[in-house]
């Protein structure tokens, strides 16, 4: 039996679609996104002290210090927004409760 190539392609696509199907939870996704948004908005606007340049420099130092000091590198390999949020928070003096932050902020360690 011969098949039209476009029929075969459609059969492949249908099989790929079946193999990729799973239950998804759009309501849960929406809730998760809105929760993260709310968390970001609570955290970021209340940070008046320094500009992003200071934050970026502090974050670069934090990465260097963490590497040199054997701190938890996996925690620093975060996605962009988290890195940015951490950098911003750190640059503005919010990440205080660990030895690296205390050292970099000149508060002893």
């Amino acid at each position: 039996m011969t098949h039209d190539p476009s029929d075969i392609d459609q059969a492949v696509d249908a099989l790929v679609k079946r193999a990729s199907a799973r239950e998804t939870d759009e309501a849960g996704l929406s809730q998760a996104v809105l929760t993260r948004l709310a968390a970001e908005e609570r955290r970021l606007p209340a940070l008046p002290a320094f500009g992003p340049g200071v934050a970026a420099a502090s974050f670069a130092m934090l990465v260097l210090m963490a590497g040199a000091g054997g701190y938890a590198l996996p925690d620093l390999l975060l996605e962009g927004p988290e890195e940015q949020a951490l950098a911003l928070a750190f640059g503005q003096g919010q990440v205080l409760d660990d030895p690296v932050s205390r050292f970099l902020l000149g508060r002893g360690g």
């Binding site: 696509d13 249908a14 193999a19 990729s20 996704l29 996104v33 996996p74």
Partner: protein, 190 residues
């Protein structure tokens, strides 16, 4: 009066999101969340990681909605382009983490189906398809998922992948050719 399309509606939601209306973001998630989740799950091979990526897509939409230009791309294409970039970033990070010993190579493609599902008739065939998809070169896999699972046309796949139409057509031809024997077997047994 011309009929209002899904794209018109989605473009209005984008404008509303740019004004800070969260309800519009929820509507966008309801329409595109499932497709993005399925694509990312199959591309990355893990549900949890895929869900994080899809959340990140919508967070980026929230932050950058004002930059969306309906004259340049459909909303769906824009969303998938963000998702493609985030998936690629994830894979690069995963490769780096594996390189520095922070992640076990065996974790790369976690088993998405717990034991009970495997016993369902026909599941074995789909497992074979998933395994074959996981072995495809990354760009072939991405093109196939965007086309077959997300339902994008070739031009939109090309736009989402930052590639040319011709290159995407080639990727799709190769990916489908690899999976044809499985489709033929599936047809014979069903």
């Amino acid at each position: 009066m011309p009929e209002r399309t899904d794209q018109d509606e989605a473009a209005e939601w984008m404008a509303a999101i740019a004004r800070g209306e969260r309800q519009a973001l929820a509507l966008l998630i309801a329409r595109h969340g499932r497709g993005l989740t399925l694509m990312a799950t199959r591309y990355l091979g893990g549900e949890e990681e895929a869900e994080e990526v899809v959340q990140d897509v919508f967070l980026r939409v929230w932050r950058n909605a004002s930059r969306y230009d309906p004259a340049r791309a459909k909303v769906s294409t824009w969303l998938y382009r963000i998702a493609v970039n985030l998936c690629i970033d994830r894979q690069r990070k995963r490769a780096f983490r594996r390189f520095v010993g922070l992640e076990d190579a065996a974790q790369e493609i976690p088993d998405p189906e717990p034991g009970a599902a495997r016993r369902i008739a026909g599941q074995q065939r789909l497992d074979q398809v998933r395994a074959a998809m996981d072995r495809l070169p990354q760009r072939q896999r991405m093109a196939l998922l965007l086309s077959a699972v997300a339902g994008l046309d070739t031009a939109s796949v090309a736009e989402a992948m930052g590639s040319s139409r011709g290159a995407v057509e080639q990727l799709l031809v190769r990916a489908r050719r690899t999976l044809r024997p499985l489709a033929a077997e599936d047809e014979e047994t069903s």
